[in-house]
Symmetry: C2
Subunit: 114 residues, 2 copies
DNA sequence: GTATTATATAGCCAATTGGGTATATACCCT
DNA sequence: AGGGTATATACCCAATTGGCTATATAATAC
């Protein structure tokens, strides 16, 4: 799976987004992360595995605990992808025309979605 | 399904991202959208259905054609969600501290993930 | 070593997904 | 009406997902 695929897929689940939101405040153990949810510990571990293999969290070791910390770089990549649409959702079609001009100019090099 | 769920789930597929990228250039019919892909027309129609029910495209009518156009507003919402992590991926922990202070101050009102 | 705590793994299950083919529907043209 | 073109729908299928319970592993505490 592509990095962008994995990032967006990981973000598509509200439990996982809530976990990431919690991790803004700092590292947390699996138990701490599980606490707000009416969900079994193994299910949380599965979600963490998805987040980890998408590179959105990394894990340490503190005695029996495996604390999770946020790794936000893949989110930056997702954000970059979304930026291409900003001109459209902001309704700024002048800038959009400029963007399209630039895209046309680059048609010689490989384009597609990257 | 939540709007954010639907948006991120739709973006998790590279075919769908490529379709959206194509639609930056303007409206396109199903045939036009299908052309770059080694994939059957019904499969493309399925992808379009996913994009449409996520609100990322809307469709018109032009004789037999059902042209698709980009609806970027849900992408703005996704972008807003990602913005919360910008301070982290940019490594700006001073600003992050300020953010955490604000979050703490708002603890009285409902927070959670939204 | 044995118990306790924290986490991971295995296996089950129903639902969803992403592809396919075959067929239906909608619209245009003569 | 009949033929072509564009798109949608109905199924089929294998793989994935997201939940569960039961169990295994890891590290600490006694």
């Amino acid at each position: 799976m592509n990095q962008l695929d994995a990032t967006f897929a990981a973000l598509a689940d509200p439990t996982r987004r809530a976990i990431l939101a919690r991790l803004i405040e700092g590292e947390a153990s699996v138990m701490e992360l599980a606490e707000p949810f009416a969900m079994s510990q193994p299910s949380i571990s599965k979600h963490l595995k998805v987040l980890e293999s998408a590179g959105l969290i990394s894990r340490g070791r503190d005695a029996q605990r495996r604390p999770c910390r946020l790794e936000a770089k893949p989110l930056a990549e997702a954000n970059d992808w979304l930026e291409r649409y900003r001109k459209i959702w902001e309704g700024n079609f002048q800038r959009l025309d400029a963007l399209l001009g630039a895209m046309q100019a680059n048609k010689t090099a490989g384009d597609a979605e990257q």
